[in-house]
Symmetry: C2
Subunit: 415 residues, 2 copies
Amino acid sequence: MGKITTRSPFAPDTLVRLEPLEGVRFATAEAGIRYQGRTDLMVAVLDADTTVAGVFTQSKTASAPVLACRKHLKKGEARVLVVNSGNANAFTGKKGKEAVDLTVEAATEAADCARHEVFVASTGVIGEPLDAKVFAHLLDDLVKKAEPDAFEAAARAIMTTDTYPKMATRKAFIGDVEVTINGFCKGAGMIAPDMATMLCFIFTDAHIAAKPLQALLSEHVETTFNAMTVDGDTSTSDTLLLFATGDASVRGQEPITKEGSKKLKEFSAALHDLMQDLAIQVAKDGEGLSKFVTFVVEGAESEKAARRIALSCANSPILKTAIAGEDPNWGRVVMAVGKSGEAADRDKLSIWFGEHCVARDGERSADYDEATAATYMKGREIVIRIDVGVGDATSHVWTCDLTHDYVSINADYRS
Amino acid sequence: MGKITTRSPFAPDTLVRLEPLEGVRFATAEAGIRYQGRTDLMVAVLDADTTVAGVFTQSKTASAPVLACRKHLKKGEARVLVVNSGNANAFTGKKGKEAVDLTVEAATEAADCARHEVFVASTGVIGEPLDAKVFAHLLDDLVKKAEPDAFEAAARAIMTTDTYPKMATRKAFIGDVEVTINGFCKGAGMIAPDMATMLCFIFTDAHIAAKPLQALLSEHVETTFNAMTVDGDTSTSDTLLLFATGDASVRGQEPITKEGSKKLKEFSAALHDLMQDLAIQVAKDGEGLSKFVTFVVEGAESEKAARRIALSCANSPILKTAIAGEDPNWGRVVMAVGKSGEAADRDKLSIWFGEHCVARDGERSADYDEATAATYMKGREIVIRIDVGVGDATSHVWTCDLTHDYVSINADYRS
């Protein structure tokens, strides 16, 4: 693993506390998979009848744990989640599948459940065979001693080059019963050295069947995690799982079994808000960043087109280095819009840096003031708004700048 | 313009000499458009009956000169080319078109030709209005004094952050008449600070009609300039023009009027070779580079898929920083293959760094030797070969590494 450099300037002074959730217990261990002197194994034990939804990396070289999760997800049932850090078990061939099989088998026995109820995730170095024997024998004990009040310990065990654990909690009413959603994730974007990479686990005590749960997750991932990038380098291991224990039904929550139920309106909004919170936390821990940047695209043909234009900006090295240099170089925004391939009317294009309009109707704004723009760029949070002038769809992407520290973290230190 | 840093380590010790070509004359001037104490205006005067082919940026925010060239190209006839450096005349709205109109008008009068026979290109800062009055009055004199033996002067006048002029020459027989192809281009990839960006002009005395000329150019651009990237940031101004004066017919060359003529076989190969030479010269002057990198993809479904996979590698910041750090981090190659979206068989994927096989059939190669791989990465020219195991198509992409100097050039200095 690359040398960890300074904490992100956006690391929170105090961490949010995640209260225990009915039906979920955690245990962690120092298994010594790669790191020494820190936890690197996390087990979440889920009550019977827990439903699960998931989304995974689109990579064609997806890791062995991702392939197993995709397969197990079909029934939408979950009892155990086993996550290790230090080794991604990606591109490890037959040995990779064997490591997953051994883990799943040990977890099945420990939790007395079916194979499809076990979910696994690994994060860390790619291509190094993962020896599951190092930790498989620990699972029985971990499942037994798992306890509810341990969200932060769980979040810490799955960190790699993260400079802080990323957690969020929300509450929502389903009918007149209040439910809780707790989530945590790891990842310094898709870019941590030798790491792979974004893992996110969300838990709720709501009673929601797997199908509507999946529908909510798939809907919200587009405008949250899929609207966040550090350098466009999609990992082999991205995994987002949402578990619903259903324990709120004990307190009278009427089970939700159908997609699109109006009763989920508030829950859906809370889930979206929590996912957005976590996605922003990941971008704010992007490697080497000095600034958090939001690109807002308006006036696009479709929401998808707007997001593609925003991503084209957020993944442009030349634009991200200009932002790191506090240079209000809007010509590079024009370039990034142009290269996205999406429709934009060159003669209606307008660009704002914060509230300052730098370009209007396809040329430099008459109000453009270099000093004002330059002062704005010195801020720690930058918002660049672009109207592409062809429609009325809008979207946004969160990212960070590209700094010398990014190069140092990824080039100067051997993994 | 950003501060020019050190010369590329690949800058040639001696420049290739381009001999005069029948039917082409050049003149340059210090017009003071933006730079002081150097030439920034270049005029090429072409004999009557010169044909022309061109390819341009795919950007949706293409510059005013690109839009004019696209329009003029339809008749395939050319008499004058006017190029300025220091200002890209991109994203300059109505003023941009007016500057082009004024330039074209002045060139038309100077060369006594039709509007559609005038081609224009501009490179430099984006968004700054270009005042064509500064140089339009010079064109008459420049056309008059243009001379044949001035390829290097022409190549120098269009440079921006280039650290050396990029030139190449080839000869080929059409029938039993030898013709010459001379070309030069500018661009430190698509990434020069505030610059936009790749301009390439090729001249030949061959007698070839516009249609077959365009067919050759369009065919070869795919495997030459479109197989080269510095950071994936497509400019608003990329322009590649090929002029054929036809003067070789005086020496008995039978005019070629049809696409696919077998008589063009040797010429086509020479043109491809010259375009490849120039494309490699551009990548070797990529900003801040320390290494020149070739990605070769084999075993792909199609040539297009192979090139997309190679481009996914060549545009990956995390992989390019690893190469800058001389880290044989093949896990990042796996990541970049996976994120390309093209078919790859994870369990058949093999990767070579130079001659050293680092991964075979979806896992780390049994022969993998860290020391051997690390030593290879210390070289100045790196070849990474990838077999994706699904077909038999192959392609390649040339690029450079991503270094601290890249960040310095694009972030530390204000434009």
